[in-house]
């Protein structure tokens, strides 16, 4: 089975802290994604990466950055956490090419206080 593993299920951080969310996949997928999930808003794409060191902004990249130094790992960075970044963060991966479904991790519930 495909496994997408997010490093933490729950995180509590203080305003202004630099926060790292880690995601690892074991299926040699080219694509990796970071979404945030908020009630009533569904999943909104923050960033995605289609290859090592390659990234594209999604719909809501402000306040976030990403890093992909190895194919299996995709990190989301909150440069200076703010309370409006309190959310559920979901990582996903997929093969490159049209119509391939994404596989999701369990999610990280981040609370910024």
């Amino acid at each position: 089975d495909v496994k997408v593993t997010q490093s933490s299920r729950y995180l509590v951080k203080r305003t202004g802290e630099k926060v790292f969310l880690e995601c690892v996949q074991d299926m040699d997928h080219e694509n990796m994604f970071w979404y945030r999930q908020d009630p009533g808003l569904g999943l909104r794409l923050i960033y995605f990466s289609y290859d090592v060191k390659m990234k594209e902004k999604g719909d809501i990249p402000e306040g976030y950055s990403v890093s992909r130094e190895k194919k299996e790992r995709f990190s989301l960075i909150l440069e200076s956490a703010s309370t409006n970044q309190t959310s559920m963060y979901l990582c996903a991966s997929s093969f490159r090419g049209g119509g391939t479904e994404a596989f999701f991790g369990q999610g990280t519930r981040l609370t910024v206080v």
Partner: protein, 114 residues
Amino acid sequence: AQSVAQPEDQVNVAEGNPLTVKCTYSVSGNPYLFWYVQYPNRGLQFLLKYITGDNLVKGSYGFEAEFNKSQTSFHLKKPSALVSDSALYFCAVSPRGSASKIIFGSGTRLSIRP
């Protein structure tokens, strides 16, 4: 702008009755279409997808979806609902030639009463 609309926040159905969860999209060209399900405290799971061909697509757990190009819709259906189908359902689209970017709808909570 590319978007996916799920017009119902919640759908309530009695067990054994048919169910429909609606989805429409606004994406140019012929996008790929997906349905995902999220059970409580779990990540999203893939249910089914439309690539090309037959407009009726069958997926996991007895679900199917009907693609209608003229109405740009991709409604999720099941002939007979189970209480265990209660979950949050997301419609998603992936524009062709977009490096596999996937755009999600806002989600519909499906509640099946015994």
